[in-house]
Symmetry: D2
Subunit: 338 residues, 4 copies
């Protein structure tokens, strides 16, 4: 940590800061430059990170040398983490993982139909919400446990593993029972109690980036989960909020290589929520794989006109199938397979 | 609702849409312009809002005429809502309400000291977090129930009413017991289960705007609370995320008059979290009152250097006192009082 | 155009608006719904677009049916535009166009060295700035005409066509003399006088998206160029400003298919300026081609450590060469070639 | 400047960097911490700022200690700059300066009417565009020199000083002849050639913040003007681009105190362009003055319904008059006058 002092910081102010640093068991190193005096702090940066140093008289700004997260960082673990979900599905390996299905579980026959179809096209996991975060209280809120049961049946019939969202810590036992991968949605990325809850789960976690979260925020939220003992976390880029309004959000495709540099955790991309328009899903899915993503989360619906949520961004099964064919070839170019 | 068709929409496509509209019990009105045919829909717009109409063949875009929220809107209730908190504190009335106190409750003597001081300066409510949403799992997470007890004691000794944050639906009974006003934090603004929970509470709710939420999103979240039966909601602008990084967030001061136009609910402003720097709190607090806010939420700490959270944005009691004097005069200019 | 009236709009207000619409030679169609009366306007929307209708008493909002741009739109021209630059270089065709070279022209031997190298790797155009827009007045501002002469010589020696930026209408004769493609930089995307100037040029124009411009803004700026008679415009996505700060800007990869839907003009991507970090250029370049871009603009420098501008985002020639090999394969997957 | 090295930086890499720093005539100070080695650089930071140090092998990141601007900074000049415009108008003094008038000059009688009216209400400068930056090529582009002549006549008749926009360096002689204060619009804030041009002018400059510019960017652009010799610069906050769409831009009111901390230059606010809606102008104007702005730029039009540009955001003269009365009282609270 580097404490940059104001041009006119007094000796008394400097001594006050030095005293503080020493009291925390750290070593201050004062260095007088031509225009500024700075104090380098040697020792466990964490000890001082929580101190509001910028508030000390004479301080102009504080620069941090280390990253605020540990367990999720490449420095903590150099090799890519490969997360085992079960039945041979391993996220972060050479083999890309595609999760597909409807936005929300609506009824059993429809779910089975979509599940069979995406399985045939090459998906290995089925997505589908039983509890739905909807911006309007008047929209369909999900089937609850009934939806989870339908997912279980689809799993039995197709062999697809299940990823579904947890919204409320009170639903944890239920979701844990049915899901192979527990999703934390973008709107709950900083619901810290929920993060702690899944941090204590035995199930792996799919953590979606909040729409106004920096990559650093996302990694800090993942740190919550790991710090509770659950190291099986997969990150998901799903678009951030910007001024552009032709798309629902703006897919931050560069977040994929950025995260890969900073963290050992796998990263997948959700082009359906990022764009909000089915016509943009295929180009963005291809872009994600070309940029190095470890997998995709894609909405597929056999009758988008009647979908109870997010019909506008759902691919028809035939379009999904075509996309999977293209993805297979792009995967090869970047040294992966599907 | 207006459905704008593509230039080359076929008769079959148009008939398909018309059929759909009629099936929903609504009346379609087709109007052929020079460059586009449009279909106006007469009837309950809600019936059709949930349909993904943009996905229908031949549809170019869908324009909505009505707002997606009802109970919170000015159209539903013309007069400003005045929310009674208790002991004469009424938010939304001519008398502005200032809530002040530390970011988090740290210990009893400190809390009492700050409470007495802000009371003397003119605050009528005490803020202080017992459960703290922190971006790092390694930061101070709050005292929990002990913190709530300290708040209760401060209330007993000073007469200040209590506003404190609820983060987890499982803490509801606890928070409801101690708080006069339950705060939903920015990071939980779209935690819809939590919104439903406070919607069923007898306590009024302070709903903070999410950092990436539009005013419309904020009103939709408030609609969740009202639709569950709790009409005592106060909105709070606390800065949005932008590219500017001299401040932690960007205070959207124009949101105050914007919300006042759209909704009957009171609006207060939190300049401490919006700016993240104590030196900017006073100018922004004055701006908020000048723009028509119904009150303020301000962090005050008697020893910011030792604060366990957000010390950098906390005002010293003497600065808070000076600010209150200025605010009194500005309030008068805009026809209010403190 | 649809004029939505306030719930309490009076007959006098409605008549006033109807009178206005008729005076403009247009036909108003009044339609009374349950909650709102709306007035549809039939005729040339442009006639009324410039009127500040929202300011009329009784008006709640105004919805536009048509897009504000014409010449650049898909409706004006259905087929993809293919822009001939010369010597067989055609942007927008099946063959992707890669433009590469240093950020700014620094000296002749270096430029020639880089030019030869990128040519060998498959680039068909050479980029290099002679006039540089720098945020600091104390940074290197470019060599001016001397730089243009070096570019000309590099063209003579390698056959690469030249793309270079015009910053000032007074430099037009100079830049027109040397450039095969005139670049308008992101910071000048709404420098309307400059747009009119290149609109009257015989040379094709590369128009870069402003960092805070929506796709609509970009198309409106292109419309300026086309409306002056120059239809040879290529659009360039180069990152927009967001809150994310691991990258200099956020590459909006979905803008590629979005623009392709709305306009017939070709779109290329500049991953170097979008990310600001050479390590992110390759994944983002691949993503751009996978998403359907017609080409790329990439910074290459043989000695980034000594580059006078943007060294941090420049690829080494060997990395560029490796990237081109990958791009060739991805191009094939999406039905293109390099 | 602090160069933070990667955990595994080799001795050779460190020596390479040290050699570079020394070659620039600066003194490197190596400091080995527990987790990172850092190199502090003592001497003129500017010498090394332009080097792309992040590109050197072994470098993790580079932290700058000093600000990239000089002449505009508080460190260069401690006292507030007061800019004399003429006839007793001094911006940055205790007396606030209000500039008002139509968006664009449309015709002489109208301009005179508005000028007389705003003068009566207390404005001391008349705004009005003769050259208009319009996003659409089909919108009214301004009257050119004729408009400037009308402004001159309005000045003669009312005594109001003139502020008007320069868009093209070729119009400089013309604008310089008529304007008392030359405006550089938001879209040209990074048109560096235009900045250099006004930097050589004898007339003071009103520099508007770009819609996607940070405060730092704004100060860097002002530095361009000062570095050319013109120290009479006034900054103007006019809203930045965010995801919120109830307003045209988001007024960043905290930018006022932020700029005041960093720079000695005066800051005014334009609430008309920031909000785009006349109903929001008054609350935002009051907020700006409460936050410490040195003045305002406000659009006033006696017949907004017929305005050729920006009618929706123009105040009627009677509303402007009422606003001025409120502003006078708020000014007093913050120790100023109008």
């Amino acid at each position: 940590m580097i404490i940059v002092l104001k041009p006119k910081a007094t000796k008394k102010e400097i001594d006050h800061i030095i005293g503080k640093v020493k009291k925390l068991g750290l070593t201050p190193m004062v260095s007088k430059g031509i225009e500024r005096t700075i104090i380098g702090v040697i020792g466990e940066e964490d000890a001082i990170r929580i101190q509001p140093l910028d508030v000390y008289p004479g301080v102009e700004k504080v620069l941090t040398i280390l990253k605020p997260y540990k367990l999720v960082s490449r420095e903590f673990k150099k090799e890519d983490s490969i997360i085992e979900i079960g039945k041979g599905v391993r996220i972060g390996s050479k083999k890309l993982v595609v999760m597909a299905g409807p936005c929300s579980v609506e009824n059993k026959p429809l779910l089975l139909k979509i599940a069979r179809s995406v399985k045939k096209s090459g998906a290995v996991m089925l997505r589908g919400g039983a509890f739905k975060p909807r911006t309007s209280p008047y929209s369909f809120q999900g089937l609850g446990e009934e939806g989870l049961k339908f997912l279980k049946e689809a799993k039995k019939k197709t062999g697809l593993l299940i990823v579904t969202e947890l919204m409320d810590p009170r639903d944890m036992p239920l979701v844990e029972k049915y899901a192979d991968l527990i999703q934390i949605g973008a709107r709950n990325m900083q619901n810290f109690n929920l993060l702690k809850e899944v941090g204590q789960s035995k199930k792996p976690v799919l953590l979606k980036r909040g729409m106004s979260s920096t990559v650093k925020d996302l990694l800090m939220s993942a740190e919550y989960v790991l710090s509770e003992g659950n190291f099986r976390v997969i990150l998901c880029e799903r678009g951030i909020r910007t001024f552009e309004n032709h798309t629902r959000f703006t897919l931050d495709v560069s977040a994929v290589p950025v995260i890969k540099n900073l963290s050992h955790l796998p990263v997948i991309v959700d082009p359906s929520h990022a764009t909000g328009k089915w016509g943009l899903v295929a180009p963005c899915a291809k872009a994600a794989i070309a940029a190095g993503a470890d997998g995709l989360l894609i909405e597929v619906h056999s009758n988008p006109e009647e979908a109870l949520s997010d019909g506008a961004q759902s691919l028809l099964p035939e379009n999904f199938d075509r996309l999977m064919n293209d993805l297979r070839k792009i995967a090869e170019v970047v040294g992966r397979s599907i």
